[in-house]
């Protein structure tokens, strides 16, 4: 290493003012599944750019989705939460898995995360989505998922148990995130319209953070004339509202405007 004593003497000290930083309004901590390639770009698409930012760290999850694999994430929630801005403010913590939140249970997800982030509100895609559906006055839903049969059963049971009536359901039946992330948005659009146009459905819920819904939510709503709630959209909405950000965001369905 070269002698640096001479160099050190020539530094100018620049004056500066400190402000609220890059996430002055809402800093969202995100626990992301290892193989999910969709949630981060989708959240950055949904979230406004005035002082809102997402800080991600990853949790191990098998490439084959199953009830057991989802439950296995529970033991790592607290550790991963601790990695995210340990010495800076986080306004909201989000767990980036819809089916995993159902299997582990939203209350347990929150209490595990709050072990390392005490006092920080926690959201997850299923609580956020169901809250979104309730806020929009929707009880009878069309349901679209990408999951295999075993996980679809979990979703059906959970959503039904929360007082929703699933009037029509469809699935892409993929085995895990490396496939789910490759379901084309156009296929989501077609499936969403096919299910959502069912006369008995008051709205459409598209489950899973690894599905690329951001470019088709508004188009499906326009085609079916009913609200569309998706995992990432609802997660973004709930994180903003929990973080105290009340402004409407246009272009991603009715939910982001309420």
């Amino acid at each position: 290493m070269p002698d640096t004593s001479v160099l050190a003497s020539k530094w100018q000290h620049m004056p500066c003012t400190l402000d609220g930083g890059p996430a002055a309004n809402v800093a969202v901590g995100l626990i992301t599944l290892g193989n999910d390639t969709v949630i981060e770009p989708e959240l950055y698409t949904f979230l406004p750019r005035d002082g809102v930012a997402v800080y991600s760290s990853r949790i191990p999850m098998s490439a084959q989705v199953s009830e057991q694999a989802l439950m296995d994430m529970k033991k790592n929630l607290s550790r991963v939460a601790a990695e995210i801005l340990p010495d800076d403010k986080v306004n909201v913590m989000a767990f980036g898995c819809t089916s995993g939140s159902m299997v582990i249970g939203p209350e347990t997800v929150a209490s595990e995360i709050q072990r390392s982030k005490p006092g920080v509100p926690v959201t997850n895609p299923v609580s956020a989505s169901l809250k979104g559906l309730k806020t929009l006055g929707i009880k009878k839903i069309a349901l679209l998922t990408p999951y295999p049969d075993s996980v679809n059963e979990v979703v059906e049971k959970y959503v039904g148990g929360q007082g929703f009536d699933i009037v029509v359901r469809g699935s892409f039946k993929q085995t895990g995130d490396p496939q789910i992330t490759r379901v084309p948005p156009e296929a989501i659009y077609k499936a969403g319209v096919e299910l959502g146009k069912n006369a008995a459905a008051q709205g459409l819920f598209i489950s899973c953070t690894a599905l690329r819904c951001s470019s088709v939510i508004q188009r499906i709503e326009d085609a079916i004339g009913k609200p569309v709630v998706t995992s990432n959209q609802a997660l973004a909405w709930d994180a903003l509202r929990l973080g105290g950000y009340k402004k409407a965001v246009a272009g991603f369905g009715k939910l982001m405007t309420v």
């Binding site: 070269p2 640096t4 160099l7 050190a8 020539k10 530094w11 100018q12 000290h13 620049m14 004056p15 500066c16 003012t17 402000d19 609220g20 930083g21 890059p22 800093a27 992301t32 290892g34 193989n35 390639t37 969709v38 981060e40 770009p41 950055y44 750019r49 930012a53 997402v54 800080y55 991600s56 760290s57 990853r58 191990p60 490439a63 990695e83 995210i84 801005l85 340990p86 010495d87 800076d88 679809n152 029509v168 359901r169 469809g170 699935s171 892409f172 039946k173 895990g176 995130d177 496939q179 992330t181 490759r182 379901v183 084309p184 296929a187 077609k190 499936a191 096919e194 299910l195 690329r212």
Partner: protein, 254 residues
């Protein structure tokens, strides 16, 4: 079109290349850096490009000894990012740590778990940027305390650059570095760039430089390179994405 199966309609379709068809970029972030992700997303908001982050523990005090200890964590962190999916390039998001650890060591550690994936960090990225822009005599603006400043200046000089001007905000942790206002960064960088230098380098991934690069270049008439801007550019180019991106300085058009 669809078939019924226990009340579930199975919906036929063909898979495509996914959300990061052109560039899936992995990012190893220091736990407390609140700036690198929003800044990289600002630049990388384009079709077919995705940024996938994982964090490693790093807290104050921000000493050379501590950042050297990070080396051991790089292989484990790289293994957490899309373990069963493809990555086109992987970036380690710390300028001063890379100087302390060494460029080759960073790449070697990351490639232990991601063999064959090109690696970048702000040091290689900025050196490549200076070369692409033809900068040799630079002004250096950092947010760091003096212990880190000495390493940064000596490292650049050892690479054959002339660090003709040096200035610092003297902040000790990411918390404060990230809160240095962009207007203060712009003012300081313009002052330096107007001196007898080819361009200005704004070091530090937690420093919010990306939003003011264009203004610095417009006011000084010289190129401005920042850690995050160079990292985004180098990551894209290593991944094979060649198009110009407007609004973030001359570098992103090369």
């Amino acid at each position: 079109m669809s078939t019924l199966d226990g009340g579930w309609r199975h919906l036929p379709f063909a898979l495509d290349d996914g959300p990061a068809a052109h560039a899936a970029l992995g990012l190893i972030v220091l736990g407390n850096d609140p700036t690198i992700e929003p800044e990289l997303y600002r630049i990388l908001r384009m079709d077919g490009v995705g940024l996938y982050a994982h964090r490693i523990a790093m807290g104050p005090p921000f000493t050379v000894e501590r950042i050297k200890a990070l080396e051991g964590e790089l292989a484990r962190a790289a293994a957490m990012i899309l373990p069963d999916d493809r990555l086109h390039a992987i970036a380690f998001g710390c300028t001063s740590c890379t100087m302390a650890i060494g460029v080759e060591n960073v790449a070697r550690r990351i490639q232990e778990t991601r063999p064959g994936v090109p690696v970048t960090e702000p040091v290689s990225a900025t050196l490549a940027a200076f070369k692409a822009l033809g900068l040799r005599r630079i002004a250096l603006l950092t947010p760091y305390p003096h212990e880190v400043n000495k390493v940064a200046a000596a490292f650049l000089e050892a690479q054959g650059l002339v660090v003709a001007e040096k200035a610092t905000f003297l902040a000790s942790a990411d918390f404060d570095i990230a809160r240095v206002s962009p207007s203060a960064i712009e003012e300081a960088a313009v002052r330096l760039a107007k001196l007898d230098v080819d361009g200005v380098f704004l070091s530090g991934t937690a420093l919010r430089a990306v939003s003011v690069i264009r203004a610095i270049e417009a006011a000084s008439g010289k190129p401005a390179v920042s850690s995050n801007q160079a990292l985004a550019w180098h990551g894209l180019r290593l991944a094979g994405v060649r198009g110009a991106v407007d609004g973030f300085g001359r570098l992103l058009t090369l």
